[in-house]
Amino acid sequence: MIDPHLITLTVNGTEHELVVDARWTLADVLRHELHLTGTHVGCEHGVCGTCTVLVDGAPARSCLMFAVQAEGSDIRTVESLAPAGELSDLQRAFTDHHGLQCGFCTPGFLMLAEGYLGARTGLDLDRDEIRELVSSNLCRCTGYQTIIDAIAATARARTEAAS
């Protein structure tokens, strides 16, 4: 290590004390130090969104953050969505609508949607708004339509449940 730092990261509700190099990205630390390999790395320049995680509830590209920048933040990864092994409503919607094929980009889309839906519960999301959201990330397999379907169905169900 060129510039080691001792940091504390809170990931999926668990605190970790870690020695990291200053230049290590949050994505690399999650994947290779904490072995939370559900977060994938697709481009390392912040465009594809495959590495999206929630930082203090908001979607963030973990390839564009250094791990040291995340100290003191509450981080959530795809591993947090089904803690007891039971798929969440969002995950179920992805499988119901065939919103994934190879599954490599899927954790990024799930966390993108989780952050967005979490912040927007109770609002009536139209398809164009969800399409705009989904355009944050890249998927090479699905053509996006079924990802939009899955998120729309989840949003609808959550809104109905809340009313």
């Binding site: 995950q91 094929q101 397999c141």
Partner: protein
Amino acid sequence: MSEPKFHGRSGTWVGASVRRREDPRLLTGQGRFVDDIHLPGMLHAQFVRTAIAHAAITGIDLSATLRVPGVVAAFTAADLAVGDIVAALERPAEEFALTAMPVLARDRVRFAGEPVAIVIATDPYAAEDGVDAADVDYNAETAVTGLSHALADGAPLVHTEARANTFLDVTMFATDGIDAIFDGADCVVQVRTHSGRQNALPLETRGVVASWDARDDQLLVQTCSQVPHQVRTVTAACLGVQERTVRVTVPDMGGGFGIKCVVGREEIAVSAAALRLRRPVKWIEDRRDALTASFLAREQDYTARAAFSAEGRILALDVDVVCDMGAYSCYPFTAGIEPLMATAEMPGVYRVPAYRARGRAIATNKAPTAPYRGVSRPQYVMTMERLMERAARELGFDPVQIRRQNVITSFPYSGINGVTYDRGSYRESLDLAEQILLDEGWYGYRADAAAAGRAVGIGYCCFNERTGYGSESFAKRRMTVVPGFDISEVRMDLTGAVVVTSGTINHGQSHETTMAQLVADRLGIDIAAVKLRQGDTERIPYGWGTFASRSITVGGSAVAMAATRLGEKLCLIGAHLLGTEPDNTRLDGAGGVAACDDPARRIPYEEIADVAYLRSHLLPKGTDPTLTATAVFDGVGDGTFSNASHAVVVECHHGTGAVEILRYVCVEDCGVVINPQVVDGQCRGGIAQGIAGALFEEITYDDLGQPTGGSFIDYKVPTACEIPDISVTHLQTPSELTESGAKGAGEGGTIGAPAAVLNAINDALRSTGTELDRTPVHPQDVLAAFQRSDVPA
């Protein structure tokens, strides 16, 4: 043999949109992709790559690299001393030039990004530091960066073995008297089309973890490859070791689309390094390298003429296909794959009575190419469909009507290209696609838009795709390595559950679900009792992997046959235990064997398995213990042809030149649909990639051979805002050449989209007098068309 009781053409599972078996792990972050693999003591590799496109290497100094903290080793070609990767065709020297791709560049570099040395370090960051510290001296030479340059007299040679920079030059067909047909025809139309250089772009880049296992006396190569057995063969050959000492396994794979169905040099270099260091070595490709230095695709030029009668019947087709293959010939397909595919298949869905086709594969100082989803078909279909549109305009026909007059309607049809087409729904799919647009009022919409000064256009594409290539049809390409067959083993355990193997490789196609659907129906068991195993050269006797839409047609047929044979064995043992004849038994669809004359007399699989494994002395005489069956399937004849028609409505915007897709209709026929939702997904995803090629993605090179598009800022991958919702309608013409009646469904979407989109754009631009024949169509092309037509005559 008894009749299969559950034959897959109908059943409990086949035909249903069964939820995917692979989804739960992929949705919860429990998939295992190459970069998720951690081994004790693992090192990390990166490559020193040339920034110069064409040069002689005059010196490599890695001493500074080796002083970088964390760097463990660095090797050049001379250090590793491994063999080259060589892909060959059995063709005479005047048709095919044999060239080699060294694992690391030795004396020369032939494209910007070519690997020159491998650096191995304790972490990936240190490996990149080591790469930065490497010092390589070059004598730069003129780079050959385009087809016209490559083919010019006196052009620099990319390979001394490839005269005139030509990997392949073949005239595949030349009907006697074709020139007289052109001379006497009522109408002759010509197009020159160009399709840009693309990247197949799986979101998971290439990668490998290689580790030596002394106990197994074996190198374990874990890699995201569509063709693990071919990786094993080349790795063993390059390293000069017995194949048994190399095991290749494939974990979850984040897409491939063809770029991973060739053997890359990096996985060999990493394997050689792991063997030498006796430590695990991982390499994960950087996105910049994936975009510019791996394998690219698609760049082709067509000069095509077609003769028509005044009644709109095509009389002759003459095409010259020139493919810019880049610097190297890929293994196992060779640089010949693109022109050979194009020239063999170009007549497609149309009755073409006379045909001449020349195909060339040209070497340039660009990253090499690999087959990408569709393999030449997006380009030759685009060319063919442009010819149809142009003839329709010349002759005053409706574009759909001229296609209707020329599509093949009686099957089997023996084409001028020597190919026999099995039954399809060419005409029906076209009619239905048109009907959908008519019913939805798009023709009226187009007229209203035109009246309001807006440029709305409608475009069609009608095409077929040969799937299920067997060894017989691949042999016609004269490859020295002839893919074709597939092997499957089905093994039932004591609990009545089965594990099925296949030589195909799932990387998004849903094989774990669809193959299990086939097996569940054949054996009459729940899909949850079926587990598919792929991607392990130790576990699978041999396989050709997944490409050319072969998984369900060839691999699925082997799977279904093996399951049927296991069913026969279950009946044989079941009959003995029930005290009746095998002919009087059948699988009862509920996990047991029943007597035909008295279905109440049944024996569950678990009890048969108990005898087959634990009390084999009770087996009928001559019956082997265990419940295992294997089958080999090879593609039959000329393969089975799926087909589709696409109909697209676009608007070209006057202000920006942007092309907006207002409606996309796909009517496809892949025979028996095993899982409708999965086929929809394959169509939509394929169409999205076709739209990407039609409107957005291209890697260009400057005169020095420097690639553009080294990031997602420059290489414009479409997002959800560019890809429209797509409706998919299934026609089902069952194949008689596959076990399940299914035809391949993996590539069709990608094949049809460029032609349909381009035709729609040209329809929208009709009033401008401009016709575009190059993809991707950029907004500036559309603006230029508008501006030209705005200039007063």
